[in-house]
């Protein structure tokens, strides 16, 4: 089950990375003091482009999930299906991104357009999560799924944003305005990222109190996959810590070292999220017939 779902797994991660990057970049830009605007523009020129390819890669992979992708031209999509909503909202996000991208090139990107795109992105993540919460897998049909998906959106988005900022600054030391803003962005993302971790005990206890499939999931989380679960959080949290350290320790002579820090943080966070997403799939036991009540 876990293996055959790899396209979905990657699709959710890639699209969340894209949306997260767009959202946090937008946030970054909004928070950046106005005297830094030219830098912001430069940043957007390098930053926003990575959103598109991530989305394209994600959507491309998602086709592998379909048994008959060629039939996937819906004559009449069922709008009550969260999968349809997910596809529609990600498509709208993607379309808006294209507009943003073109606008940025022409230097007439407006914050309204940017924020609209970002919010649509978040809505897409919401739809994505809802496709899972509407399933008959108790471990998915849970508030926790939203927390997990948004946390991933923000942690992966953080990387995207940081890399963009670092990248557009070339070998220059980041200005204190930029680092301060970045710090704010990191801190606000951390709040979202920590929600599922803090929620974990409530999640597990609610599963344990549930039907057999829920209990089975709780057992998988609490016993079989406890170590990977701990590892997953260690990875993510260390990654964030490294990132934060990088943002604070900006200086010319440490440039090479700093890039290593960014890479390390990226690897740690990506690994953490990938592991987390695998666990999300592997621990989701279906409500089914052969389980006694």
């Amino acid at each position: 089950m876990f293996l055959e779902e790899w396209p979905l797994l990657l699709f959710t991660l890639l699209s969340q990375a894209a949306i997260g990057t767009f959202f946090l970049s937008t946030l970054f830009e909004t928070l950046l003091p106005s005297n830094q605007e030219d830098k912001a523009t430069a940043f957007i020129k390098t930053g926003i482009p990575i959103v598109g390819p991530l989305m394209v890669a994600g959507l491309f992979l998602s086709f592998f999930h379909l048994g008959s992708p060629l039939s996937a031209v819906f004559a009449s999509p069922n709008l009550s299906s969260w999968l349809v909503r997910e596809i529609l909202s990600t498509s709208v996000f993607f379309a808006l991104w294209v507009i943003c991208f073109v606008a940025a090139k022409k230097a007439n990107l407006t914050p309204v357009l940017q924020w609209t795109t970002a919010i649509v992105g978040l809505f897409a993540v919401f739809c994505m999560a809802s496709a899972y919460t509407n399933s008959i897998r108790p471990a998915w049909a849970h508030l926790n799924t939203y927390f997990i998906f948004f946390a991933a959106t923000f942690s992966l988005g953080l990387i995207g944003t940081t890399i963009s900022v670092a990248g557009c600054n070339g070998k220059r030391v980041l200005s204190s305005e930029i680092t301060t803003t970045l710090r704010k962005v990191v801190l606000s993302a951390v709040v979202v990222i920590l929600v599922p971790l803090l929620y974990q005990p409530f999640f597990l206890s609610s599963l344990s109190a549930g039907e057999p499939a829920a209990l089975a999931s709780a057992n998988l989380y609490g016993k079989d996959y406890l170590l990977p679960m701990i590892l997953r959080w260690l990875l993510t949290l260390t990654g964030i810590a490294v990132l934060y350290y990088y943002v604070r320790s900006q200086s010319q002579k440490f440039y090479a070292f700093s890039m290593k820090l960014v890479c390390t943080a990226t690897c740690l966070i990506v690994a953490g999220e990938l592991l987390g997403r695998c666990l999300f799939f592997v621990t989701a036991v279906s409500t089914q017939i052969d389980v006694f009540h």
């Binding site: 048994g67 039939s71 299906s81 008959i136 017939i289």
Partner: protein, 183 residues
Amino acid sequence: MVQKGFYFDMTTCSGCKTCQIACKDVNNLEVGMLFRKVYDFEGGKYPNPWSFSLSISCNHCANPKCVANCPTGAMYKRLEDGIVIHRREKCIGCRMCLWSCPYGAPQYNEKSGKVGKCDGCAALVDQGENPACVDACLMRALHFGDIEELKKKHDGTADVKGLPNSATTSPSLVIKPTTQARR
């Protein structure tokens, strides 16, 4: 609308699986695909064991999550009798229905890249016949018809040990449980 559904008398089912095979025949199903499946349960302690079987297909639920979550409308509920049909040509093989059905009714076929499911033998029913599985039953434990009538006639339940909570999809299924299968 008349809602059609199944009555299953667990107390007289031998677990012989003739219904399962009749279904495979009428649907020409390959190994791995079971539109109707007989499950055997046991419990108790020697020398007082107990066991019962459940013969389960799609329950043509009043509240079919499979239909709600199917992006293409391949899964749809017939207005005239509530039978939930799967339209093959519309199916994209996204398996949302597998994620939505607590009864394991829709099944994915790796080779065709599409899902298949019990359609209540709608084609036969439309001709005034019974579903193949029903007329196959050696113990006459399976019946098909207006679920309200069946509910009236047999005082049963869709909530027995081994089955998921019926609140999820409101299956059109009445079961007469054995003592041990009661919940």
